[in-house]
Symmetry: C2
Subunit: 180 residues, 2 copies
């Protein structure tokens, strides 16, 4: 869980980063940036800020803002009914992002979350800079990390059902609890 | 048809506008900006420049650049097989865009293409500025126009099958012919 104050601070910081990256957003959009701690209660380590621009039964477009050194935990998008699972392209707008996918261990620049190494099984590193993008097929496991400068990216995908995403870390709860 | 020189000039101008709007694109992307004259051979009046960022069997993401006073002709995205037709959200990044949809005639700011009024049947005007967006349901007719400053926008959609789009103007051919 996160406190209301943490939520507000992360939302404000994310809005600043998004605007600074050149993505124009409205005040209404700033106010509905979702702050996600994955139920792990250490937002500055594992977390992401999400602004949903389009959400229909067919497509989803989100802006993801990662604060400096935040990591999005290892996860995948499973099949749901007739849907083979979310297909997603992430395009980086600002900051460098370290992605980890299935393959040979080439992890050099990223940093495993201390004490949670077993929940980060993928070690094949792909470094994506602004203007570059990476595509994940349905069911393809991945995790990613921003470093000192933080990062802003777009997520373009087929229908998103975030609460059904699956995570390697069994402690993760995708629904965020905010306390006063 | 357009000449190779027209194509190159429009591509270069569109690339400049896209970069200036804050959207970072690679040199490879600049080189594959599609210049579309709809087979009407007057690109400066009816035309659009299109950079496809994502194109799969499920989703499509494009950057559309309109040169000053260009108009994208009235069209709709029909059903194709099991697909009810393309569902599209256009989000404006730079410039003001005048959209026309079904409804009461409120056309005030836009300008009908001279001599082609009968191919622009929709007159309900919706003005979209940067950071704002508009969604078209499958089959929903629309046309849009940039004015003096031109415009840059994203098109987020379900699978795009551009060559199957339908246009009010029977003279339109969606496949572009380029001559040397």
């Amino acid at each position: 869980m996160i406190t209301r104050a943490e939520q507000k601070a992360a939302q404000k910081r994310a809005a600043q980063m998004i605007v600074q990256s050149g993505i124009g957003i409205t005040e209404e959009e700033k106010s509905r940036i979702e702050v996600v701690d994955f139920g792990l209660s250490h937002l500055d380590v594992e977390g992401v800020q999400v602004l949903t621009l389009v959400q229909t039964e067919r497509i989803s477009v989100k802006v993801l803002a990662m604060l400096p050194n935040q990591t999005e935990p290892e996860h995948w998008h499973p099949p749901v009914g007739d849907d083979p699972g979310k297909e997603e392209t992430i395009r980086v707008v600002a900051g460098t992002v370290y992605f980890y996918v299935t393959g040979k261990d080439t992890l050099r620049k990223g940093v495993l979350v201390r004490g949670k190494e077993r929940h980060y099984t993928l070690r094949h590193e792909i470094i994506i800079t602004p203007g570059d993008q990476i595509t994940f097929q349905p069911g393809e496991k991945h995790w990613f990390q921003a470093r000192d400068e933080g990062a802003v990216m777009y997520s373009f995908s087929s229908v998103a059902r975030d609460v059904l995403d699956q995570f390697t870390d069994p402690n993760i709860v995708r629904i965020v609890k905010v306390t006063d």
